[in-house]
């Protein structure tokens, strides 16, 4: 599975930083390690910035497509994203290099923090800091979503319909509290069917 990552037709029209991809499995390991260690409050925001804007391994469109797949498939989204990206460039070895890079060091850190937190949880300073970090983490996710909204402009559904599906998804999850599986089965199937009809 070392198929070339992209072909001419898939290029980012906006001309974001483009590179042929990681040079080796250790490049993958260290890139994912780096982005995971910057990923306080979740890795997604950093992953978008590192893989698309900085490294140019994926265009925005490729990133959002890969993210779409990793959200539909069960499992942690960024881990799935790492598996897919690693597998695309270096096969199984690449997939495991990306995920190992993403998990190994953070796992040690988070377990050390867990042990420490048991000691200091009662301190208002500590619980306050956790609150503040949580609020920022929410903001980072929303900012990532806003940045990826640009890709709806070139969506084959057409921008108004694509935006409508995004809004409906939000409403279904946040207001109607639908289980995700219903959202994917209902809205997802409809959107894919329309896209299929409009795909040459």
């Amino acid at each position: 599975m070392t198929a070339p990552a992209r072909e001419a037709g898939e290029r980012d029209a906006a001309g974001a930083n483009v590179s042929p991809g990681p040079t080796s499995t250790s490049d993958l390991f260290f890139t994912f390690n780096r982005l995971a260690l910057q990923g306080f409050g979740g890795v997604l925001a950093v992953a978008q910035r590192e893989l698309v804007e900085r490294k140019g391994w994926l265009s925005r469109e490729e990133f959002v497509e890969m993210l779409a797949l990793s959200q539909v498939l069960p499992g942690p989204n960024v881990v799935n994203l790492g598996l897919m990206l690693g597998d695309r460039f270096f096969g199984l070895k690449g997939a495991f290099a990306a995920v190992a890079g993403m998990l190994a060091v953070p796992l040690v850190i988070v377990l050390a923090l867990t042990a420490a937190y048991a000691e200091y949880a009662r301190l208002a300073v500590v619980s306050g800091a956790l609150r503040g970090m949580g609020a920022v983490a929410a903001g980072l996710i929303i900012a990532t979503a806003i940045r990826l909204m640009a890709t709806l402009g070139s969506n084959r559904l057409g921008p108004p319909l694509a935006a409508a599906f995004a809004v409906l998804t939000f409403v279904a999850i946040v207001w109607l509290r639908w289980p995700l599986i219903w959202v994917v089965a209902g809205l997802g199937t409809t959107a894919v069917a329309i896209a299929y009809a409009r795909t040459p």
């Binding site: 260690l37 910057q38 306080f40 409050g41 979740g42 950093v46 959002v64 779409a68 959200q71 539909v72 498939l73 069960p74 499992g75 942690p76 960024v78 881990v79 993403m102 060091v105 953070p106 796992l107 850190i109 988070v110 377990l111 867990t114 208002a124 300073v125 306050g128 800091a129 956790l130 609150r131 503040g132 970090m133 949580g134 609020a135 920022v136 983490a137 929410a138 903001g139 980072l140 996710i141 990532t144 979503a145 806003i146 940045r147 909204m149 890709t151 709806l152 935006a163 409508a164 599906f165 999850i173 995700l180 599986i181 959202v183 809205l187 894919v192 069917a193 896209a195 299929y196 795909t199």
Partner: protein
């Protein structure tokens, strides 16, 4: 030392824990966090291995620490049964979804120019974006109200969004800012 606080889990309990997370892995559409309510049901409500507060703190710690949020699963396992518990929950969570993702991604990659795979990606992209906004919203909601701290949290969220979109500052610094503002009691 905190190992002593862990309830002693029998081999059968550990296997049960592993098996439960194994099943949840395949149900975790939209990310591991979507199965948190069911993990809560199993380890808190049903087996009383950890308390409600420990469960919530497990998620908060994993979010505050660097790395993927899925590590909250390891923290829950650790709180339940120490290192072996972390191994049980983490392996259970990772193995099935990893295998499925690799199989599906290869299947899709071979057929990526077919009409169906292209339509599949096109159709799901808007859902992904809606889902991301919803995740941000749900993460933000516990902090947002009209108390002074709630307004501080809103300000923190707005500032994070603006700086992420307008500057190239690393998200790490924004989280550090959040920690300081929160520690001072302003958010």
């Amino acid at each position: 030392m905190s190992a002593m606080l862990h309830p002693a889990l029998s081999g059968a309990d550990l296997l049960g824990l592993f098996g439960h997370f194994l099943v949840l892995s395949l149900l975790a559409i939209g990310g591991a966090i979507t199965t948190a309510p069911d993990m809560h049901r199993y380890v808190v409500a049903e087996h009383h291995w950890i308390s409600d507060a420990q469960f919530s703190a497990s998620i908060a710690i994993a979010q505050a620490a660097p790395g993927p949020n899925v590590l909250f699963v390891a923290v829950i396992g650790w709180n339940v049964a120490g290192p072996i518990g972390a191994l049980a929950t983490m392996a259970g969570t990772m193995l099935p979804s990893t295998a499925l993702t690799l199989i599906a991604t290869r299947w899709g990659q071979r057929r990526r120019d077919t009409r169906f795979v292209r339509a599949f990606k096109t159709g799901l992209t808007p859902l992904t974006i809606g889902l991301l906004v919803a995740t941000g919203w749900l993460l933000a909601r516990p902090y947002v109200d009209f108390s002074a701290r709630g307004i501080g949290a809103i300000a923190l969220i707005v500032v994070s969004i603006a700086l992420m979109l307008r500057t190239r500052v690393s998200p790490m610094w924004l989280v550090a800012l959040g920690a300081v503002v929160g520690a001072l009691g302003w958010a």
